[in-house]
Amino acid sequence: MSLYLIQLINGLGIGMIYFMISVGLSIIFGTMNFVNFAHGAFYLLGAYLCYAVVAATGSFWLALAVAPPAMALTGWFAERYLLSRLYHAPHQYQILVTLGLALVIQEGVMLVWGAIGQNVATPVLLQGVVVFGSFVYPKYRLFVIGFTALLTFVLWLALERTRYGAILRAGTESTEMVALLGIDIFRMFSFTFALGAYLAGLAGGLTAPISGADPFMGPGALSVAFVVVVIGGIGSFSGALAGGLLIGVVQSEMSSLWSEGANIMIYVAMALVILVRPRGLLGRA
């Protein structure tokens, strides 16, 4: 198998993780027209909650079941008592408050768990690698891809087939319209924000066995999420998937050529998309 093909597959794997990190931001961004600068911190806290549960009980599966709902609750509280007062404020205050929230979470994590990163062991069931010819891939990453794919399908079903999904999709087009339909958009916002936080927490928990839990992983994840969301199309579910995969593949393929160049290219692409095609690759017009 050629190296480029191997890197393509690896890139798709990275891309699935990027999608996980970004999809929650995209949904919040699209529905509420609200940029959540604390999204990276939610991801961080998700990873640490997962670490804490593993450290206490030894069970990664329990952690994966507990940590993301805890994040959803955190998100719900943050929306209900903090952000909901900002919907009519200029966006700089929304950014300021979410930046503050991100700082509080990051420093709070260091206060509780220390400044050093923490290792989250790969669950025993998923240790080791699978070998396809010359391509070696960790079982755990394969699991993440499979899990994310399943989750993508479930999310897609939820968005396409349920009443909430229909409201959410309509909300991405126009919140006024949803309000006219007699739906309590504030409850919808609370729920959406909780969903976004849930997904960020899940992403943190899932990546913890790959890159550990580190107090400074928030801003990097946020940057990736911005790029993915913008390139894929703000509020577009399939766009976040396409954007995540695209960025993953580009980074992976560029790693053998010019890795710093990959970073420059990614942000050039982000700027170009906003300028030339603001609805993103797959966003609705």
Partner: protein, 403 residues
Amino acid sequence: MTLSRRSFVKTAIGGAALAATGPAILRPAFAADVTKIRSLYALSGTFAEAGKTAELGARIAAPQFAKEYGIKVDYKAVDSEGNPGRAVAKILTEIQQNQVKYFVGGVLSSSALAMSEQVHKANGVFITAAGADEITGQNCNRSTFRWSVPTYGASRETVLPLIEKYPNAKRWYTITPKYVFGEALLQNSIDVFKEKGVEHVGNSYHSLSETEFSSYLTNASAAKPDVLLLLNFGSQSTNTLRQAANFGMKQKMKILMVWAEGLEQYEEIGADIMDGVYVGCQYDVSIKSPGNKKIIETFKAKGAPVPSYSSVSGYVSTDLILRGIKAAGSSDPAAVIKALEGLKYEGPTGQEEIRAFDHQCVKNYYLLKGKPKAQMKNKYDLVEIISSGKSFVPQNQSLCKMA
């Protein structure tokens, strides 16, 4: 076990960090015979763990050696915030506000280089354990001394013994962060490859903000190396190693991390992944030397955690300043610099000596290997020493031209 590592550090910092931030006009007029020492480590920011551990070492050393050498010392910790710009601004504040002449600190290359210049401009003394070779190379100056072994020695004292240990390991692959420190480690390693006739089958550069290493590891796997040589640092090397283990590379090849941060990093990586991995380090608690024995006892007496490279670097740097003052019999920086040049002393790694021409400390660098979990005596007993030695660029090849 006494206090946990964290709670000790917390009380230590909280108790003593009474910031001297009174107005400039109300500057406390300290008695002239009190020597002011400031440590500048990253207590917040990305390298906070290494920073606060190093600061802990300095905090233990200052009163101990003050007493031992009969010098009055005023020690305070200053947070460099892991930000070179902030570090320099704070050094300037200390120099102007308190006329401080003696500084220890600097974990990151960029911070250490910038601090070195400021202290030099103020005709002070700066002792660091940072990785940047420029400190005792092209950017060397009269004021700055470096305890840590440069990349030259780090590469030679880890790569060479491993080649000798595994003569059949002919194919080496490197992963390098793209900045001066990484490039220096890479160049020095390549020189050893050439000397020993092993093949350098490839290198991957990554940026300093990278956290996802699977694509570099994929490149490395494809090159089918016998040894994977990690030339990155801190959380990046932790992540590379962790992800390499996930990709099953530990079973297929030897992995050597040339510049490890020491105990805290081994703990972060965890015993499972550390098992069988080779690392290079400036210090290890298992060193058998009179100096190290004393350090272990001192740390124990103070209720501090097991000494690590970070805490010992802060400890030794502070010791060196006070040792210089004692030897000079004066707290005039010029005299102290003179006294430190050529100083031989019993350090944690055995006999250590400061070269006069470039202010580089000549000391051992260690090749260590992660222990299997079954052989660990306690949770800090993660590595064993394989070999050690001193390798330094001789004066005629040094880039240091001190005025």
